[in-house]
Every structure is written in structure tokens, then in C-alpha cells.
């Protein structure tokens, strides 16, 4: 299924909001109050909070859908815990019948604060979370919905890009690869007080950035362009893009997360929010990014300070600005449907540095023989393998080759050794231990 096959609202502008962060604003009067405002701002998407025991009323959903506003349903029990499947199935059926397409479960599972303390402290966090999530995804897919992977805290206590990568790996390892045909990823890409272009280009461009380490002068995913990084992870794992649906983004006045940049004032907020809207409307954002979901349309609770519409009747300046932008659907740059990955002809390939090639090959001989591995020096050849082990440092087989292999859908690992002598020693140890792979 290509990106263009995923449902989108009619006349999709890509503009959207997160509605009130509670379930107290779903009656008719609220619909009448907010629907005109949303339309006037050109919204096509709305993220809605839904308690497990109190679904968003059908009338409210119907009102949105009638005006071509696509709801994204948020089912996020706290702390993170299993959701009873019986009740969930009923709820998901209700939403599917009501015309909803997108739904996601749990929020920010890469944050300790979302978990019971004892659960967080156990090993294999992602695997355990995936075990919780899979039944939800399957139920949603069963009833015809399009489930989304849970939104992660950018960075976070458990590094988000790795959490996402491990989740995708986990789904595949558990034999749930079929879900990818209906799966999207929920994201929260707040800009904080960083320039909008922060992190643009993803890890491909900012290769020095590692989990928990962004060296001075480098950038990471913790900004508006988070979607570049996530798409890179998704493509690295699957070989194609998944839809990324924003469930919260924007920037707030007073934000000062990065001390290298000035605090966000009202002018900056307005200018950047409108720029985000223009980028979307003018087709300058990638097609796998489906929408914005500006946090937060309105609130009368703790989050009221973040709201676009204030309790005293005033609004942030971006409301007027957004209403003044040209209307009409988002300029489309839809990606060509990416064909599903072709089956690999090889299972495992040992990729060797070409320099001193004979010595490397000799060093690897016993390992190749023991595990009956294909091996050689050609990246194109290695692309035909499901798993590629690269021997030596990046000086021998560089990072571009490694990325190309990942982009081709290979699982890649690297045995980091300095020279053929060290390689021989390490590979012999692996042979002795009967260890074919380093990590897989």
C-alpha cells in the first residue's frame, strides 16, 4: 500500500489541531463553537482525546467528518498498562463505524513518567511495550482502522529514534510484518525555541549525532524536522515510508529549552507557526508527513497557557494569520508508490574492505566456512542479502555503503576491528562460540 492509498480528508490542507486535552468538550454547543473556527483556519485534521470508557460522541465525529475534518483518535491510558481486548474491540468498532480512520494507543512510552516505576526498571523495555501494543494494532486493523505507532517524546528517557527502530524490528521479529500495510506513525514534532529548520536532513546529514549525544555544532531530531529522522528510521527498517501523522506540534511562548537560542516571544511564535502552515500548504514538506496538529486549540485546564484560544476570549496572533492564508488543498508531492521490497536472494553476506582485500578474506576464511556465508567486496552484491555483516571500520567500508545497504532493506551489523589480524582473532572467537551474528 503506497502513501497515496492511505485515507485523507477531502480537500486536505494538511493543517490541523489538537482539540481540548480532555473529554469534556464534545457536546453540540462545542461543535457549533469550534467547527467554524477550524474551517476558517483551513483545518483538515483534528486530534481528539478519547477515554477508554467514554468515546467521542458520534454526533461530534459526524460533524467533523461532514466538514471534511479527519479525526485522529487518541487512546492513551496512564500509566501504560494492557488494555482489555473486549472493551477495546467494541470501542474500535464504534469508531470504525463512525467513519474514523486513524487511531493510536499510548503516549510517550519512551518516558519513565508514563510507566509504573517497577515496569520501567525492567530490561527489554521496547520488547515489553511491543507486546502490549501489538494486540491493539491488530484489533484496530481487524476492524478496518489504520493504527498508528505511539507518539514518542523527542529524545526522551529512552532515545526515541532507537525506540522506534526497535519497535519496527520487534514487529517484524514477532511476525507482524503484515501490519505495515495499514500502519502509520504518530509523531510530536514541537519546534521548541529552535529554528524551524533544526535537524533538517535527518541523521543522513547530521551523522555525528548519536543517541543522547549531540556534539556542539551538530543538530538532532528534537525540533520541527523530526519527521526527516523518523522517516529515515522507517525506511532503514522497512525500505519504504510509512505515513507520519502529527498529533501535536507547534511552539509555545516562553519556550526556552535550548539555551543557544532566544526564548520564544509572541512575534516568533506567530511567524514560525505561519511558516509551518505555509510549508505544508505549499507542498514543501515531504509527502509522508500527512499533517500538522497544532497544540492546542483550546483548554480550560492546566494546559490553558498553550491554547490558541484563551479562556478570556483572546487568541494568539497566529489565529488571525492562519485565517488570512490562502485557502485550498495542500499542494501535493505525493510519493510514487514504493514497491514492496523484493525478496532477497541471499541470507547472509560478509562485506569486506577492498583495501588489503586478500588479507581480510584470509582472516575471514574460517568464519565463512563455518557458517557457509557469502562474502565479497561489492556493496551491490551485498544488497541482495537479508543480513549483511560489515567487517572493519568505516575507513574500510564507509558509512554511505552501510546506509545504502539499510536503504535496500538489509539488516546490517558491523564488526568493528582495526586490521585483518584483529579480525581473524574476533571471528575465530565467534566461531568457537558458535556465534554467527553480533547482535541479531
Amino acid at each position: 500500500m503506497s502513501l497515496s492509498d492511505f485515507p485523507r480528508p477531502s480537500g486536505d490542507t494538511g493543517i490541523g489541531f489538537h482539540y481540548f486535552p480532555d473529554a469534556e468538550h464534545y457536546d453540540r454547543s462545542h461543535l457549533l463553537r469550534w467547527l467554524p473556527e477550524l474551517k476558517e483556519m483551513g483545518a483538515s485534521w483534528l486530534a481528539l482525546f478519547s477515554p477508554l470508557d467514554r468515546p467521542v460522541p458520534d454526533a461530534f465525529l459526524g460533524g467533523l467528518l461532514a466538514e471534511a475534518i479527519e479525526p485522529i483518535i487518541r487512546l492513551t491510558p496512564q500509566p501504560i498498562q494492557p488494555i482489555a481486548s473486549g472493551r477495546l474491540r467494541e470501542l474500535l468498532r464504534y469508531y470504525a463505524a463512525g467513519g474514523v480512520h486513524y487511531v493510536y494507543f499510548y503516549s510517550r512510552p519512551n518516558m519513565a513518567s508514563q510507566w509504573p516505576m517497577t515496569d520501567w526498571c525492567q530490561p527489554d523495555l521496547v520488547e515489553r511495550f511491543t507486546d502490549l501494543l501489538v494486540p491493539c494494532l491488530e484489533l484496530a486493523a481487524d476492524v478496518g482502522l489504520y493504527p498508528l505507532l505511539s507518539p514518542l517524546q523527542p529524545g526522551g528517557d529512552y532515545w526515541d529514534t532507537v525506540f522506534l527502530e526497535a519497535t519496527l524490528q520487534g514487529l517484524r521479529q514477532k511476525g507482524k510484518g503484515y501490519l505495515f500495510s495499514r500502519l502509520g506513525v504518530a509523531i510530536t514534532n514541537f519546534a521548541y525555541n529552535r529554528p524551524l529548520e533544526w535537524g533538517e536532513g535527518g541523521n543522513r546529514r547530521w551523522q555525528e549525532s548519536l543517541p543522547y549525544a549531540t556534539p556542539p555544532g551538530h543538530q538532532d531530531q528534537r525540533g520541527f524536522y523530526l519527521f526527516d529522522w523518523y522517516d529515515e528510521v522507517v525506511k532503514g527498517q522497512l525500505g519504504f515510508s510509512l505515513p507520519l501523522l502529527t498529533v501535536a506540534n507547534g511552539l509555545r511562548v516562553g519556550e526556552v529549552g535550548d539555551k543557544d537560542f532566544p526564548l520564544v516571544d509572541e512575534d516568533t511564535q506567530e511567524q514560525r507557526l505561519l511558516e509551518m502552515a505555509r510549508l505544508m500548504r505549499e507542498g514543501r514538506l515531504p509527502p509522508y508527513l500527512f499533517n500538522h496538529a497544532f497544540w492546542l486549540l483550546a483548554s480550560d485546564g492546566e494546559e490553558a497557557e498553550s491554547a490558541w484560544y484563551k479562556e478570556d476570549g483572546t487568541q494568539i496572533a497566529a489565529v488571525v494569520g492562519l485565517k488570512g492564508l490562502a485557502k485550498g488543498p495542500r499542494a501535493t508531492l505525493l510519493a510514487k508508490a514504493i514497491p514492496p521490497p523484493t525478496p532477497k536472494s541471499l541470507y547472509h553476506y560478509l562485506l569486506l574492505p577492498s583495501e588489503q582485500g586478500a588479507q581480510w578474506a584470509t582472516a575471514a576464511a574460517s568464519y565463512v566456512e563455518c557458517f557457509q556465508i557469502s562474502g565479497g567486496f561489492r556493496v551491490e552484491e551485498a544488497m541482495n542479502a537479508e543480513i549483511v555483516t560489515i567487517l572493519g571500520s568505516r575507513l574500510g567500508v564507509d558509512i554511505k555503503a552501510e546506509r545504502a545497504l539499510r536503504a535496500a532493506g538489509c539488516k546490517v551489523e558491523r564488526l568493528e576491528v582495526g586490521d585483518p589480524k584483529e579480525a581473524r582473532k574476533r571471528l575465530k572467537e565467534m566461531v568457537r562460540a558458535g556465534q554467527r551474528f553480533l547482535t541479531l
Binding site: M111, A112, S113, M117, T118, W120, C121, Q122, P123, D124, L125, V126, G155, G156, D157, Y158, W159, T161, V162, F163, E165, A166, Q169, L210, P211, Y212, A213, T214, P215, P216, K259, D260, E402, E413, R414, E416, V417, G418, E422, R426, L438, T439
Partner: protein, 837 residues
Amino acid sequence: MKLAKLAAQARVGLALGQHQYVIAASQAILSHTPGHLQARCLIAQALLETGELSQAIYHFNQVLEMDPESEVAREGLAVALDRQGKLKGAIGQLELAYETHPANPSLRDALLSFRSQLDRGQKGLSLSPVATGRLLAQRGSYGKAIKLFDVALQSQPQRLDVRLARAECLWRCRRWGEAEDLCRQLLRENPRLLKPKVILALLLLQRGQKVVGVELLHQATVADPSGTVATPLLQGTPFQLPSFVGSWEVAEPSIPAPLEASVELVEETTLAPAPEVPPQDVVLWSSSDEPDTEIAQFQNILNRLSQGLEGRAKARVSGGIYLIVTSAANLTAKYGEGGFQRLHGKLERLCQVLGSQGYQPRLVYVDRREGLAGYQVSPAEAKAAEVADIMGRIYRWHQDQGEAVEHLLLVGNGDIIPFYHLPNPTEDEDPHILSDAPYAPGEHIFAPRNSVGRLPDGASSDPSYLLLLLDLLMGQYSGVGNGKGWWPGVVKAIRPAYPRTLGYVALVWRPASEAFLEQVSGNKFLRTCPPTTQRSWEATWMEGRQFQLYNLHGTLNSPHWYGQKDSSYPADYPLFPVALTPQLLAQADLSGAIVFTEACYGTHIVGKSADASLALEFLRRGAAVVVGFTTTSYGSSEPPLGGADLLAQFFWRSLVSGLTAGEALARSKEEFVAVMNQRQGYLDGDDQKMVLQGILLGNPAACLAPLPSENGREAMAYDTKSMTAPPCPSLFCKFKAKAAANSSPPEDILPPVWRHLRRKAPEMAEGHLEVRPRALCHSEGRGSCSGDCSHPMAQQGGAYLVTSRKAIALSEKDSLMRIARVTVDDQGNILKTVVSK
């Protein structure tokens, strides 16, 4: 309550002897996070103090299983074994601890003491290959360290501590393949070990195995949420681990009354220890790279230390008077009757603590009859002149009794006990000087002979800040003199062999600060601003640094201190980047630190709270002392040192000679006066101002070593009571100079001054210039000269003082008035240059 805050409270509780609370709090933490190493250490220490030896041993062993290099656990285990009568076992643990932390004097002391009980006493301890390797590794000589570890492992191949040290060295010197092998091997044998887990995780991340690497890091952080092991390892790397532990709520045990005031201000913290290995760009002074010389150097340091410690055995013959002075009326007016009663109770408790240390404490309210009656002095309103008069009478009364007032502690900010306003003797923007000098009378005001400190309160009507500071002051004596010898060293965790020094200086002043720090022995850590700024400053750099020198700019209204770029930085880089803010101290544990700030207004605290004053924030974070200047201060940008830089050097020298901070400040001022008089034949206005405005905030009895009791303190090299003060030197008189300013200076003195300024302080070369003739007088040295004296030395001539001023905007609200002053003779020769800080 947040888990991290509870951990911080437990630590305060341990310092204040609230052992049952510490046990309950630690248990609450451990029930949620059994791997919380800090909590495990705290409960073990508290159990040890309550005599639950076997339980204490259990917890210490739990710590060592995850972190075999833990100094606190190893020491604690030794103490517990000793108390169980297992002296040999205790010695074995101490030997291990000493090999792991060979720069810790308390360990050395304890080991010698324990050995002597087995008749194995010896004068000194030689360094084993492992200990030497540890010291070399701390200096970054990883290759040499590894060779020494290998020597040790030949005879004891399974020694876990040595293999861990080796793994870290391999990792730090980028022998990553070997490091990985060793870490994997260690983890196979001991899956709970934290250090190899962290190192392996970082290695995997660096080579792109992110999924496995992050999972390993996760396992390490949940096993040690306080970051005891990981934080020092990551220091100097770009890795920043999440501190998620702070987000959890735990049930809080009831707080005992003595802790109540303190915990109100305890902030959440991960309580990670100071790193043993400094960041990669730390400047460490090393005289040689030759291994033999290095080893000899270490041995020399340890030998010197040993001698120093032996010297401390001399006890002072009599306990001195510790005078605590404040105003009941002003405290009541500010905090209400209830607040005053709480403070009074705390002050009485402080007197008890000081009394237990051999001092003769005296609590005096200047406006209450009770404390003053014995002195035959009438109470008076707490105004500066009245307080000074009362102090003079009290000092004389004790003198007549043959007693000495050892320390004077003024309690409260300027609205409780006002600062003394002295005329400003130099040409700058300050209308007067805020001083505490007149409260400790000497023969004249430039012969300060007495130890004075001020324990400030905050600006609000909440007494919590002052209550906390009083608790912290009492905490400095916690466990001292209780017959347990070196135990306070354990409680305070890391006490290296010599004071560990931190210098944070404006880039343009680096030469002056280096000139000072070159004379400082021991472990030094220097940062300049720029490139370091508030954005890159790490609070952990301050921890475990007993002497901290801040040579930065300050202003009257800004809570920040600023650096200054040099000409190598681009024009659009800020001239004065923000170097330090009170907020940056929030995560720092500064227990016992002695801070010297050269910044203008560094100790200007009138009307300020800790949020608006770095000096007050330092105290809140546990610093024992902050010495600094209340108005515009001056120093040199390069050697020879002058002004604040010279005072800092003398202060340091006095501290390491064993003087308390209050005594050291008095002595440093006296030495400063002597040196400047020798250099110039007089004190110019800047010299006078520096002496008068230098004040001490905190405990004047604090000192660098673990705080000794009065009875146990070494005899002072500086016996103030038996020395006669030198006469007051000739003084520059700004009033006479101003009056004489109409006479034209020689025309040829300004060009060399301009040229000099362009070289030494280029931003000041374009400033507004003012020329004053040098005019000297000899007033009575009370800082009260009005320029009309007729002393024979009051004469003009010989030189001129050229002042350049320039206001430079720091922000929309604040600016920095920069002043450079050049003393030049009538031939155009530059005699002296000072710049404002």
C-alpha cells in the same frame, strides 16, 4: 514526594545526624528502585551510625557488587568490620580503598591508624602499581596506567577493581576493541557491574549499534538512577543521560523537627558525585610526562601531605571566643515573633554545637540587654555606628579578661545588621563602600587582625533561607570530634589529598589567573569564558572542588557573572558572555567549598535573594564561605598580580597554611597592604578600596581540610594576638587629587597611556579619560579622610592617575561600567595598571 528530592533530603539528614529518617527515606527509595546506589550508601551509613553493623555490611556489599570501586562503600565496610572487632578485615578493605582512591588523605590516615593497632605502623605508605596507575589515569596517562594494571594482574588476574580500571583506561585511550572485549568478559562474569555496562553501551552507540547500545544504557540507568557510576564516566563526552528518576513520586517518611527548615530548600538532584576524571579539555598542570618523575611527584605530594597531617596533631591551648551578633528587633520585624523564635532556637543550637567543639560561643543581640549585660554595655538600635561601638567594647572587654575573640559572625543581611558605609577612596561610580571591617576593630582599618564573617538571610519575610544556612553551618561540624577519627571524611565522601581547585575566569584575565594558579598545588581545573559560557557550564565541575576561584565580571543589578572575550573572537561575538547564573548552581552540591570571587559586586547582597545573587546561591548550595567584594573591584589582567588577584593568592596561601577562612582573609589583607606599600610606598585608592570592601559570607571558622574541632586544630602559624600591627601606610587621597586636578599634567603622559591601553585593554582605549595627580595623605586610617588633613605626608607630586571609563551594555536593562586606571610618572613611564572586574 519526588524521589530525587527525598534522596537529597536523606543526604541532608545524614549530615545532621538524623539517622532514623535517613533509614526510612532510603528504604522508601529502595523499595521502588533497588539499584539506587546513593540510597544504598545512605542507608548503610545510617545503619552503621546506629550500630546495626551486619545490616550496614549487607548494604555496603550490595553497593560493591555493582560498583566495586565505590569509595564510600569500601570505607564504610572497613569501619563496620573494625567495629565488629575484625581489624584485619578492616585493614584489607582500607587497603583496597586506598589503592582505588590513593589521593584521599582520610583513607591514608585511617589505614596508618589501623595498621598501627596491629603493630604494623609505618611512617608512610608507598604507592602500589595499582594506586600509581590510578593516579596516572586521573592525569590522562592511560597507556602508562594500563601497563601498571597489567603488572598487578599478572599476580592477581581476577582482581575486579583492577580490571575495571583497565577497561576504563582502554576505553578512554580509544583502544576500543580491547575495551569491548574486557567489558563483555566482565559482564559475563558479573552481570550486575555498572561500569562495563556503560562503557560497552557507549562503544556500541559509537559504532552504530544503537538498539543494543540504548538498551544497555537503559539497563545501566535503571540500575543506578542516581548516576553514581555513569555520570563520572560520561563527563567530558557529549553524552547526556536522562535523569528520569526525578519524575517519580514516592511516599515520604515523616520529617524530624531538626530537618524541617532545611528540607524546605532542598532541591531535587541526582546527587551524582564529582567526577574523578576531568573533562578532556581540562587544563591540568603537569611538570613532566616522564613516568618516573610523575610517580615521584605523586609520592612527594603524598609525603608532604603526610607531614602536614602529622603537623596538625598540635592542639591549640585554649578555646577562643566565637561571637555571634545579630539584632532581635530587626529579625522580629522581618520574620515576625514566630520566625524570630525559630531563629533564636537555631542560634542557641549553634552555640551548643560550637561549644561541643571547644569554642566559647557568645550570642549577642545588640538591641537586647541579656547578652550584653555581662559586657557592661547598653543595648542600642542596630545602626552601623552603634554596632561598631558595641563590638569595640566587647573586644576590649575580652582583651581585658585575657581572652581573644577568635571569630565574629554577623547574622543577617544589611537590613538586620547593616553594612558599614565607608567613603569610597577611589574614582568610580560607587558612592560609598559596604564593609564589615569596622566591626572587628584593629589598630587601624588597614590592619585587619580579626576573623569576621556574615551569615546572610534572604530578602523575603520567610526565614527558611537563614534556617537552612544555620543548619548547613552546624552540619560542617557533624561527626567531628566524636572519637570516630576519620568518619567525617566518609560522610562527606571525597576528600582528596590536597584541596582540589577550580578556576573559572574571563578569557582576557587568563594570564593573571594562571599566574596565581601556578602556585597552587594539587588538582586544578581551569575554565575560561569564553569558550565556556553559561550554556556549556556543568554544575558537576564544581563538586568536590574545595577552593573555587571566580575571576569574572559582575554588575550591581545582574545576578550573573560574565566573562570577556579576547581579540581572537569575531566582532559579533558578545564582549561579555554570561559565564555563570544562580540557576546553574541548582544541581550542584557545593558542600564545604570555599569560594573566592573577584567580580565587581560579587558579595553585594543588600536587598537580594539567592535567585538574584550568586554569592547567596553558593551558600544555599552548601558552600562554607564566599569571599568577595561589595562594590566595584579591581585587579590586574596580567602579572604582576594586584588588587583582587593578589588578595586571592594571599588568601589561598593562608588557607593551605591551616588558617580558617576568616583568619585567612584578615591575613591576606594585611599581606596585601604590606606588599603594595613596599611596591609603591603608599596605598592608592584602588588598593584601599579592595582592602575595605572585601568581606566573608559564611562561617569564618571554616577551613580547607575536614573541619577540625577547636581543640584539635593545629597551632596557627599566624598568631594575630602576639604581633604588633604595622603603622598605617601613606594613602592616596582622592579629595586632594581632585582639588589639584586643575593643574595641567605634562602633555606627554597621555600618548603612552593610550598606547598601553590599546595593548592591555583595547576596549578601554576609547573610553573617557580623566587625569588626577597623585596626592597622598596620612589620615588616621579610618577611611574617613575628608581631604583637609595637614599631615606632612599629605602632598602632591611625582605621578598621575589616568582613568578610562566606558559603559558597555550587557542587555536592555543592564550595563557594565568598565574602568581601567593607569598610574604613570611624569616621564610617561607606566607604573601600574588595574582594571575593574
